[in-house]
Amino acid sequence: MSGSGSLPGDLERTPIPATEEPVVQVAPTRPPLTPGEWVRRNLFSSWFNGVLTIVSGTLVLFFGFRLLRFVFVSADWSVLRANLRVYMVGRFPQEELWRVWAVAYFLAVLVGLSRGFLIPPHRTRRGSYLRVVLAVLALGALFYLVKSLLVWLLLAIAVALYAGGVAAGRRLGRRLVRPVLVAWLFAFPVVVLVLSLGDVGASRWGGMLLNVIVAVAVIALSFPLGILLALGRRSSLPAVSWFCVGFIELIRGVPLLTLLIFGRFVLILLVPPGLTFAQVVRAILMFTLFSSAYVAEIVRGGLQGVPEGQYEAAKALGLSTTRTMALVALPQALRSTIPPMIGHFISVFKDTSLLAALSFSDLLFTARRASQAFEFVGRQAEALLPAAFLFWVIAFSMSRWSQRVETRLGVGER
C-alpha cells in the first residue's frame, strides 16, 4: 500500500487527505503520566469515583487474597496430580498414549508454522510481560504436577517442535501458505484416524481430549452446513427456503440436552437396522445439527448487513447469482460476523461439557468422578477447579485468536 499520489499526473497534483491515511492508524503518543497523577486521574477523579475505587479495591484484595491463599497454601492438589492423565485423555489406554503425543507433535509443528508466517515477530511488545508471567506460572504448576522425567522429555520435544515450526514459518514465509492450508484441511481426519486405529476406538476417548475433538468436529461441520442453511433460507425456491426455515426453527426450539438424549436413545430407532454409529458420532451429529441452526442465523444476519448496492453491482457486471453470493456477499457477511461466530463456537466448546450428563467420560465427568473418589474426600474444589480452569484457558484462547483474525481481516474495511 505505498506510493499514494507519488506519480505525477493532472489528477494527482491535488492530493486528497483521505488517501494519505495509513492502513493502521496509531494514536498520537501522549506524554507519560507520573504514577501519582495516573492514580488521581483514573481512580479518584471525583468523590464518587474515589468511593468506588476504595470499595471495589477492598473487594478485589479480599477475594484475591483468599483465592491466592487457597491455591498456594490451603489447597491440596494431590487429587489433580494423581488424575492429571485422566483429566487430559480419560481412559485412553496407556500403551496407546503415543498416539496422543504424535497428534500433539503434528499439531505443534502445524501451529508453529502457521504462526511463523502469519504473525510477524516483534509485534506484541506489550503482551510480552503478561506472557512471561503466565509462562512462569505454568512452568511452576508443571513442576509441581509432573514428576515423570519421560513426560518432561515429551513436553520438551513438543515445545521444541513448536519453536522450530515458528522459525521455519518465518524463514519460508508466504511459500508455506498453500501446503500449510492443505495440511490443516487434512489435519482433522488424520488426527481422528491416528487416535482411533489400533486397539483404541472412539469409545475410549475421554477427558479434555474428548471435549476438544467433539468441539472441533462440530465447529468444522456446522460452519459449512450453517452457511448452506442461511443461503437456503434466502433461496427463491419455496421448497428449499421452507425446509431451511423449518429445520432452523425446529432445532432452535429444542434444548441441546434434549437433542443429545434423542441422539443417544431415539436416533437408533429411526435408522435402518444394522446401521450403527459409535455413541460419540451420534453426539457429534446432534451437536452439529444444533450448532448449524445457530450458525445459519448468524450468517443470515451478516448477509442482511451487505448493502443492496453490492448485489446490484455484481449483477450489473454479469456475475451469476451463485458467484455473486460466493465472491461478493458471503466474504463480506462472514467477515462482519466474526465476533458472534467465535462467540457461538466458544459456547459450542463449553457445551461439550453436557457430554458429562450423558455419561461420556469428558473433562467435567472425569473431574466429578475424581472428586468422589474415597481417598480424596473433601477435595471437591481441588478436583473441579482445574476442569473449570482448563475450559477457561481454551475458551479464552479462542477469543484472543478471534481478535487477531478480526484485526488481520479488518484491513481496508469501513
Partner: protein, 257 residues
C-alpha cells in the same frame, strides 16, 4: 398509455440501434414509475437523461440491464430482447457497464481485484490477462498507482473512477451512468467528468443521468427530459438547455440553473 409524440427528433443516424425501448412501463405496487418510454440509442451515441427526482429516469436505465424488470413493452439491447431467460440477462449484463451514484465498489477487495473479479469469473480470463487489462484501465482513468489499495482508502472521485474502470473491464458495448457525480464533493466532480468525456470521445455508447449541464453540452448528442414517468421532451443539448419547449422543462431548468 400513449407513446409521447416526440419521435420527430432525429438521432444521429451514424450507427445501428444499440438499445431499443418500446412503450416500456413499470409499476412498483400501485405506483407507476414508467408510463411508456420509447426511444432508440444508436451506436456511439451519448444520451443524457435529466429530470426531477421521482421522474423515472433511474428506473428506466435500470430496466436496460434488468436490475428492474419491466412490466410492459419491449427492450432490445444489441439485437437481444430482454426476457425472463436468465442466460440472456447475464449475456446482456456483461455487455453493459453500469456506474452507480454510490460507487458500489466491493469493500473487501483491492482496487485491482474489484476490476478483475468479473472478467476472471464471468469471462474466465486468466489472471495475468485480467490484471494487464486492469492496469491499462487504471492508467486510462488516471490512478495507476492505487491498484493495491482498498476502496475505503480512496477519495470519492478516485472510487468512482475505479468503478468506471471496473465496468470497462468487461469490455462493454454500452455504458450506463446513474448520477455518477451526485455523491461527490464539488472538487472531485471534474476528475470523473473528464474520464466520462474521454470515454464519450472514444465512441462508447452511453446513457447518462446527470445534472451536469457542462458535460451534457460538451459530450451529449441528445437530451431526454423525464417527468412523471414519461419522456416529456427530447432535443439536442444546446437546444434543450437554452430554449426548452415544454412548460415542465422550463420549470425544471429554472430550478437547477
Amino acid at each position: 398509455m400513449k407513446t409521447p409524440d416526440d419521435e420527430a427528433v432525429n438521432t444521429p443516424a451514424d450507427g445501428e440501434a444499440m438499445i431499443v425501448a418500446e412503450d416500456v412501463a413499470k409499476w412498483f405496487g400501485h405506483f407507476q414509475a414508467l408510463k411508456g418510454i420509447s426511444t432508440t440509442v444508436r451506436r456511439g451515441e451519448v444520451v443524457v437523461i435529466v429530470g426531477p427526482s421521482g421522474s423515472g429516469k433511474s428506473t428506466f436505465i435500470r430496466t436496460i440491464n434488468r436490475l428492474e424488470r419491466h412490466d410492459r413493452g419491449r427492450i432490445v439491447v444489441d439485437g437481444i430482447e430482454l426476457t425472463d431467460d436468465i442466460r440472456n440477462i447475464e449475456r446482456i449484463r456483461s455487455e453493459i457497464g453500469m456506474v452507480f451514484q454510490s460507487f458500489n465498489l466491493f469493500p473487501h477487495l483491492t482496487v485491482v481485484d474489484n476490476i478483475t473479479l468479473a472478467p476472471r469469473n464471468a469471462r474466465r480470463w486468466p489472471k495475468p490477462k485480467a490484471e494487464q487489462k486492469a492496469a491499462q484501465l487504471l492508467e486510462r482513468v488516471g490512478i495507476p498507482e492505487q491498484a493495491r489499495k482498498y476502496p475505503a482508502q480512496l477519495s470519492g472521485g478516485q472510487q468512482q473512477r475505479v468503478a468506471i474502470a471496473r465496468a470497462l473491464a468487461m469490455e462493454p458495448k454500452i455504458m450506463l451512468f446513474d448520477e455518477p457525480t451526485s455523491a461527490l464533493d464539488p472538487e472531485m466532480i471534474k476528475e470523473v467528468l473528464d474520464v466520462m468525456k474521454e470515454l464519450a470521445g472514444s465512441g462508447m455508447t452511453m446513457v447518462v443521468i446527470t445534472h451536469e449541464i457542462g458535460f451534457a453540452k460538451e459530450a451529449g448528442d441528445r437530451v431526454l427530459f423525464f417527468d412523471g414517468g414519461l419522456i416529456v421532451e427530447e432535443a439536442p443539448p444546446d437546444v434543450f438547455f437554452s430554449d426548452p419547449k415544454s412548460e415542465r422543462g422550463k420549470l425544471f431548468l429554472s430550478q437547477i440553473l
